[in-house]
Structures are given as structure tokens and as C-alpha cells.
């Protein structure tokens, strides 16, 4: 008789412990995964319906480059963040996977001439497939969709291209929804 009770107690304890472990796993791993996956879905949706246009990069004698860029998506009225950095022009074919090693100071202006507001970011920036693209401290500018922006970037020379990232904040995660690059026109 006592051995039957013991085995029953062991069985019940085992089931309870296993149930707690399964519930704990789903709360600790699956719930954040679902939240991230949802945010990623939304970012992917914005990314695949947006397009980016960019004008030529013109550089003056003090190595300050300027160009105009626009994030176009008529169905979306939110805000995005913009990051611009220079890269050597031979990296043009891999502009989509190049991540900044040194960041040049840059400024973003609205069409009315006023400066866009800067934001300091230290959380990782993901690509739309959910991989971490860049993690580190970086200054971004908060901009609107469908608005042409003038960007002035310092410390560039005519052998460089400037890579521009557009980033959105979905559910607390930062996703790079698009990139483009521009260089000095040949003519």
C-alpha cells in the first residue's frame, strides 16, 4: 500500500513539474518570439511596399557632402529614422550588407530648412529577416515618410559613396526597412 502511494506521488509531482517547465518555456521563449515576429512582420510589410529615391552627392572643398533623399510609401504616414554613413566606392556592390565601422557626423533638414530632431540609439538594429545588422551607439534623425530630406554629411571625399538606411521602430524593435546609396555624379 505505501509503495503505491509513493509511486502515485512521484507521478503527480513529475506531471506538475513538467507542466510548469512547459509553461515556463512558452512564457520565457515563445511569447517574446511572438512579439518580435509580429514586429518583424509589420516592418517587412512596410519595407516591401516602400521605395527610396536619392539624388546625387555633391561635395564641397571642405569635404561636406550633400544630397536629397526621399522615403516613398503613399499608404504609410508614420515616422522613420534615418542613418547616413560613408563607405569606399568599391563597396558599392555590397551596399546592402555593409555596416558602418566609422560614423561621420551628419545632419538632416526638412524641406522648410529646419533641422530634424536627433535621437540617440543604443539598441540593436535588425534587418527585415530578424538578424542583427548593427548594434552600437548611434545617432539617428527622426523623419517622415513621403517628405524629401536634405542631408549634409561631413568627412566624405569624392571616392566615397554614402549609404542611407531607413529604420522604423516596431514594438520597441528597430528594423532597417530600406537602404540606398548615392555617389558623386560622373558628369
Amino acid at each position: 500500500m505505501p509503495s503505491e502511494i509513493t509511486s502515485e506521488i512521484i507521478l503527480i509531482t513529475l506531471v506538475v513539474v513538467l507542466g510548469l517547465a512547459v509553461a515556463g518555456f512558452s512564457f520565457a521563449f515563445l511569447v517574446p518570439q511572438i512579439a518580435f515576429s509580429n514586429a518583424q512582420n509589420l516592418a517587412e510589410n512596410i519595407a516591401s511596399s516602400s521605395s527610396i529615391s536619392v539624388g546625387p552627392l555633391l561635395i564641397n572643398s571642405s569635404n561636406a557632402g550633400s544630397f536629397v533623399v526621399m522615403l516613398y510609401n503613399p499608404a504609410f504616414n508614420g515616422t522613420a529614422y534615418v542613418l547616413a554613413f560613408a563607405a569606399p566606392s568599391y563597396l558599392e556592390p555590397s551596399a546592402g550588407v555593409y555596416t558602418p565601422s566609422t560614423l561621420q557626423p551628419f545632419t538632416v533638414y526638412w524641406p522648410n530648412g529646419s533641422k530634424a530632431s536627433a535621437v540617440q540609439i543604443s539598441s540593436p538594429i535588425y534587418d527585415v529577416s530578424g538578424k542583427i545588422l548593427y548594434s552600437g551607439h548611434v545617432t539617428l534623425y527622426k523623419v517622415n515618410f513621403n517628405t524629401p530630406l536634405t542631408i549634409v554629411i561631413n568627412n566624405v571625399n569624392s571616392n566615397d559613396i554614402v549609404i542611407i538606411w531607413f529604420i522604423v521602430n516596431e514594438g520597441g524593435y528597430l528594423f532597417r526597412i530600406g537602404y540606398t546609396y548615392t555617389g558623386v555624379p560622373t558628369t
Binding site: 526621399m70 524629401p148 549634409v152
Partner: protein, 143 residues
């Protein structure tokens, strides 16, 4: 008592199946569906942009930038006018691109749009409402 352990084991497997496998499958199956929605919509915008590019590269309208001391943009239609909504015009002042327009203009017939005299001998870009950007060095047309 021994006979009960097999149904309990099945119950545990069933719970694991519901709690872990089904949400996982749902998560990893949704991405393709959502992104294809955006892609379908996005391809419409890109088609509109390409349509505008084709019109302008074929000279409908032909955009010429005359950069004299009183610079102006000249719009010349060669066939049935396709309206061109310009949301911004910039010129390069030697250190950055400076906006010229305050509000947008619609070009639907042959027109001449004057630019500020400070744009003399400076490159110009035109931003359209469809998000296209056209670059015009002094005394050239869009090609």
C-alpha cells in the same frame, strides 16, 4: 496503477504539442503571408514611378534647365500632356541642397518656371509627387 501511465504519457505529449509546436508553426508561417501583402501593394507604386520615368525620359514633358543669370526650368510637351506634380525643387548652393518651392506645382502644359537668381550655374534637382528625383546640371535636360 501501471495501466494509467500510458494515457498520462499521451496527455503530456498532447500538451507539449499544443503549447509549443502549434504556436511555433503559426509564427514561422505568417511571415511570408504578411510580406507578400506589402510587396503586391509596393509593386503598384513602383510601376507608377517607372511609368513617370518612361514619360519623362521620352520627353513628355521635356525638362530643360536654362542656367543664365535669370535661370528657369522649361517644360515642353511633345505629345498628349501627362500631368507632372512637382513637390520640391532644390539647387546646390556650394555646400548643401537648398529648397526653392514652398508648396507643390502641377505642370500640365508647356510652361516656364523661374528659379531664384542664386541658382545661376548651379545644379538643380526636381522631386515629383511619385517620389522620383531628377538631376539637372546647368543647361541640360533630363535624359
Amino acid at each position: 496503477m501501471k495501466g494509467l501511465s500510458i494515457p498520462i504519457a499521451f496527455l503530456i505529449f498532447f500538451i507539449i504539442l499544443i503549447v509549443i509546436l502549434i504556436p511555433t508553426l503559426i509564427i514561422f508561417n505568417q511571415l511570408g503571408y504578411y510580406s507578400s501583402q506589402g510587396r503586391v501593394q509596393g509593386s503598384v507604386y513602383v510601376q507608377q514611378q517607372e511609368q513617370q520615368n518612361i514619360q519623362i525620359y521620352k520627353g513628355n514633358p521635356r525638362i530643360y534647365y536654362n542656367s543664365s543669370t535669370s535661370p528657369y526650368l522649361l517644360f515642353n510637351y511633345t505629345s498628349i500632356p501627362a500631368p507632372l506634380n512637382i513637390t520640391e525643387i532644390y539647387y546646390y548652393n556650394g555646400s548643401m541642397w537648398v529648397p526653392v518651392l514652398h508648396g507643390s506645382i502641377v505642370i500640365s502644359e508647356n510652361a516656364k518656371y523661374p528659379l531664384p537668381p542664386s541658382a545661376f550655374n548651379k545644379p538643380v534637382i526636381i522631386v515629383t509627387s511619385l517620389g522620383n528625383i531628377y538631376y539637372l546640371p546647368p543647361n541640360t535636360s533630363v535624359v
